[in-house]
Amino acid sequence: MLHIEVFVFNLNKDYFCSSMKVVYQSTYYTLYQSESQRCFYVDFVQKTVQMSFCQLLALRHKVLSIPIEDHFDSDLNKHGFELLQLCNKEHLFILNTLEVLDLKSLVEQGFVLLGVSAKSEALSV
């Protein structure tokens, strides 16, 4: 039984790797596109999250809406952390300043490479 589970896991892993294409890799995170599943994956190191395009848009909105300036003012953001809820509260991430900056870079560059953003510098949302 265990043998079968390991086999299935390896099969899925091989399938995952063969059908995934890296869109953009930042320092901490990687954005993948799955052509066969017509969806996206974001590798957050701790876990990989599957996302539809709408969910990817929601991620972009949430990440770009984070006021990063507040991280440099102890009155506005005392501990320098952000809580990020994704995919209808299915996932929860706690990010530090560097991770937020890196995630902002991932979504900005990722959308440019996906062909739906014209420039790397995102407009205010």
Partner: protein, 172 residues
């Protein structure tokens, strides 16, 4: 690489961001006109109040037009948060002067999105906004005409009552 993202959305994300800002602006305009209607009711300008109730509805329709366009284009429209609505005006002239300023700000914002869409090569958004460009000409003209009527009538004596009655000419 397949264009899965492009297959899901017909416009550029930058256009989507700007249209979401416009949704917010139209919602703010709708709430502002509602505040003006309230002021008019409280100060005895009942016809002007009706005018502003109608303007508030129109602005909401504009907002919904953009909201539905974003849905049709595969984007994500965001329900706007409306704050900082002014309820204080010194006179009925002040109300209409603020209205014209507001309409000019909306026109500028629409023009800015058209120019950005053109810069991005986003023809879908640019063509969608054609209707708004012409609508703003009409909106500004209406308020200019009312301010001209106020200038001709004057605010002395029964002037204010006459002004309020005449505003009814611009309620379709």
């Amino acid at each position: 690489m397949k264009d899965i993202a492009r297959q899901a959305m017909s416009i550029k994300v930058e256009s989507m961001d700007l249209l979401n800002s416009q949704i917010k602006m139209e919602a703010h305009a709708s709430a502002t006109y509602l505040a003006m209607a309230s002021w008019c009711e409280q100060n005895g300008f009942f016809t002007s109040a009706k005018f502003f109730f109608k303007q508030a509805e129109e602005e909401r329709e504009h907002m919904m037009k953009i909201f539905n366009f974003l849905i049709d284009a595969g984007g994500s429209p965001y329900s706007p948060e409306v704050t900082n609505i002014n309820h204080d005006y010194s006179s009925i002239v002040d109300v209409f002067e603020h209205t014209l300023d507001h309409e000019i700000a909306v026109t500028k914002s629409i023009h800015n999105i058209v120019m950005k869409a053109r810069e991005l090569g986003d023809l879908t958004t640019e063509r969608f906004l054609d209707w708004f460009v012409m609508e703003q000409v009409e909106e500004e003209n209406t308020i200019r005409d009312i301010l001209d009527m106020i200038a001709v009538t004057g605010t002395e004596g029964v002037g204010l009552q006459v002004i309020d009655d005449h505003v009814g000419n611009w309620i379709n």
